[in-house]
């Protein structure tokens, strides 16, 4: 915190642009050193050093500070936003004139407890201008209440209950199950990871709102995405927008020709994957997404795939029945392709050994599809489907509202929230850690 406070302060008040840049680089590099030392040195040591090497063993044994991936990124955001404030209006107001005040603001910005441990990643230009005296009358209690109830419902009722079934996605346990069960388990994990992380983010946003701070949405119904780029605009928005603002655009974004754009996408997604965890499987996961984004970009440039979901929904109103059906089929197909790919890629989150993920996919292909009447199979399928219904309904409701914005469901909202509270109190699963705590 001291380091970020000092470097950002001098970035702001140093007159010489060379020194400004030097302070900014020092701030970024020191954050990255902290992140790499604590988070990635065990990975590099286990990959490159020989067993028994004392330095390697020391590096492997270093404990991971809680929330390091989040607070170092926020530190980078503070330094970079301050540097950019020279040229761009939206970054102004990050630094106050007083050193002590700035230190206090930095302290609050980085250690603000609702999002300290697992995000959302907050950018300095979003948060610091909100630091001021807060009054109870200014709190949007309804917004906070809704966010917290949805968050706890997603985490405690959906994610914690599904997790007891997705336990089976663990080597070698999954090998005894039929292909159908393996597919349902994978689908369940996709729902679980969404409910777990979106739930956490929603709780954090609700808690922050209770203190008078508005954090940006971290999820925006990601499973309705009809393209990979749309998925990344809807999933873990704070990370994807951070990577876009602080890495993709500085690398040149899509402004330096097609080849550079593809390379940039790869770099961003590879590093984004590694950000999630110090294991090569995360890097492979990120690279998969990078590859998907690059292929999609290439195809979009060369083949006409139509527009994204919300625009299509708007055009439905004027479309003929035939073209509407065709468009609908296209939307469903594209959504399904994105969902299936994203879901398959989650395997690398659950199975950290790449080889085990391949065995899982192989088992889906070679095992039989019969479910039989066994209690355990019926329980896995039945419970995953049952607990997925609210998440599916949540996404469908969003689509419905997009298509019919004038429909008034508002009057039913209190009842729905009441049912969610009832479910949290009576039907929560066995508590488990948030998946993103490990990052």
């Amino acid at each position: 915190m001291g380091m970020n406070s000092i470097t950002s302060y001098y970035v702001e008040f140093e007159n010489d642009i060379k020194w400004k840049r030097s302070w900014a680089i020092a701030g970024i590099v020191s954050n990255l050193i902290v992140l790499i030392f604590f988070k990635y040195s065990p990975l590099f040591s286990s990959t490159f050093s020989n067993p028994g090497n004392s330095v390697g063993e020391f590096l492997i044994s270093i404990p991971l500070p809680i929330g390091i991936s989040f607070f170092t990124f926020q530190g980078i955001s503070l330094v970079v936003d301050t540097f950019r404030s020279r040229d761009e209006m939206k970054f102004r107001g990050v630094i106050s004139g007083n050193k002590i005040e700035h230190l206090k603001s930095t302290f609050l910005f980085i250690s603000f407890f609702p999002q300290l441990v697992a995000g959302p990643i907050v950018k300095a230009h979003d948060f610091i201008p909100q630091i001021k005296s807060k009054f109870l009358k200014d709190i949007d209690w309804e917004f906070a209440f809704k966010a917290i109830v949805i968050g706890y419902f997603l985490k405690m009722v959906i994610a914690d209950n599904i997790k007891e079934q997705t336990f089976w996605i663990e080597y070698p346990y999954f090998q005894g199950h039929s292909s159908t069960v393996l597919i349902v388990l994978l689908f369940g994990y996709s729902i679980q990871i969404f409910a777990d992380f979106a739930g956490y983010s929603s709780i954090a946003i609700g808690l922050a709102a209770m203190f008078g701070y508005r954090l940006r949405d971290n999820f925006n119904f990601p499973y309705i995405s009809t393209s990979f780029s749309e998925f990344w605009r809807r999933w873990h928005i704070s990370l994807s927008s951070f990577l876009k603002e602080y890495l993709y655009i500085p690398l040149g974004g899509n402004q330096k020709g097609s080849v550079r754009t593809y390379i940039n996408l790869f770099i961003v997604m590879f590093l984004g994957g590694l950000w999630h965890g110090a294991a090569w499987s995360y890097a492979v996961w990120g690279t998969f997404h990078g590859l998907a984004l690059a292929v999609e970009r290439f195809l979009q440039k060369n083949v006409n795939f139509g527009s994204a979901a919300p625009e299509i929904l708007v055009t439905y109103q004027n479309a003929s029945i035939l073209s509407l059906s065709w468009r609908l089929i296209k939307v469903v197909l594209k959504t399904s392709i994105v969902f299936v790919f994203v879901t398959l890629a989650w395997l690398l989150f659950k199975l950290s050994e790449f080889e085990h993920a391949l065995i899982y996919i192989k088992n889906i292909i070679i095992n039989n599809f019969q479910i039989g009447s066994s209690k355990i199979n019926l329980a896995i399928i039945g419970l995953i489907v049952l607990y997925s219904i609210p998440v599916i309904a949540y996404h469908l409701y969003y689509l419905y509202r997009e298509k019919y914005p004038n429909t008034n469901f508002k009057k039913f909202e209190p009842i729905v929230y009441g049912i969610m509270i009832f479910s949290i109190i009576t039907n929560s699963g066995i508590p488990g850690s948030f998946i993103y705590f490990q990052f």
Binding site: W141, E142, F145, V149, N161, E164, Q165, F167, P172, Y173, Q175, G176, H177, G372, S373, S374, K375, I376, N377, A379, G382, L383, L386, E413, P414, I415, Y417, G418, I419, I421, F422, S423, I425, T426, N427, I430, P431
Partner: protein
């Protein structure tokens, strides 16, 4: 909006509790949604039971297979996927104490679980809430009731149609898989590797502490062994466990149920008895108990 939501939630909770207290037939067999919940239900039933069970069984997933329909008045605190020490902890946590504790010693090398179920089981406020408000117990989760009733309905209609039990062969085979893979680590310990001496030492020190503690409260301790597959029944690891149990808990101070011949029983996965064998072994165990 907030007020209406809270009123709705409170009304639903009240109605649901009234349903559980006044209408729900407690004789309906409730199915847990998963193994962890099944264990949790067992713990809560033991801790919140009005009457202290006289005989309690502690053990691993092997003893969890015992047919409790035959052992009326017994309470089985053997948990699937957990160590025998969880059972001891639960016994100690209840004010009243049983007269007899049956200790299955097949899997005593499995270390104590890191978190003993959840803090909420042992937290004072939570315990008061869970013991007095039925909707707060794991057993009465709405989804449990729904799946149990659905299962009961399916069983009834299947029985009606097929004129035989829903527990078909395929049913059993899937349960075999379940146990086989869940307790893989136990199988490894007992079949292939003999753990380090330090593992034996620490396990027996711990077991002794628990047993001594119960003995001081005049609880009779009876050791027994669950039969396993004949091929591993006399493995080196099994022999070592047996001899160390006898060494640490001499037969002039402690009671033992004579192990039955493993060849009489069949297992699903070399260590867990089939349903049928579990029923027969329970019969054997029950026949041995009156001697004490």
């Amino acid at each position: 909006m907030i007020r209406i939501s809270i009123i709705t939630a409170v009304s639903l909770i009240l109605l649901y509790n009234l349903y559980l207290i006044l209408i729900f037939d407690d004789k309906i067999e409730i199915y847990a949604q998963n193994i962890s919940q099944d264990n949790l239900i067992k713990v809560q039933e033991y801790l919140f039971a009005e009457k202290q069970p006289e005989i309690v069984i502690v053990g691993s997933s092997l003893a969890a297979k015992l047919d409790m329909n035959q052992l009326k008045g017994f309470f089985n605190l053997a948990f699937r996927g957990r160590s025998i020490y969880d059972g001891f902890n639960i016994i100690m946590d209840r004010k009243g104490k049983p007269n007899i504790v049956l200790v299955e010693y097949n899997a005593i090398l499995k270390p104590p679980s890191l978190s003993i179920f959840n803090d909420d089981i042992f937290g004072k406020i939570d315990r008061v809430i869970k013991s007095n408000i039925p909707s707060q117990r794991a057993k009465y989760q709405p989804v449990n009731l729904v799946i149990s009733m659905a299962y009961m309905y399916i069983s009834e209609s299947k029985r009606h149609n097929d004129n035989h039990s829903i527990e078909s062969d395929s049913d059993k085979s899937s349960l075999i898989e379940e146990d086989k893979i869940r307790v893989n680590e136990n199988a490894l310990v007992m079949e292939e590797e003999i753990p380090d001496d330090s593992v034996f030492k620490s396990s027996f020190t711990l077991l002794k502490d628990y047993v001594e503690h119960l003995k001081k409260q005049d609880i009779q301790i009876i050791f027994f062994e669950m039969p396993v597959n004949e091929a591993i029944c006399d493995s080196e690891a099994h022999r070592k466990i047996r001899s160390m149990v006898k060494e640490n808990f001499p037969s002039d101070e402690f009671f033992y149920i004579k192990p039955d011949e493993c060849s009489k029983y069949t297992t699903k996965d070399r260590i867990h008895l089939t349903e049928e064998s579990a029923i027969r072994f329970t019969r054997y165990l029950k026949a041995q108990i009156p001697a004490f």
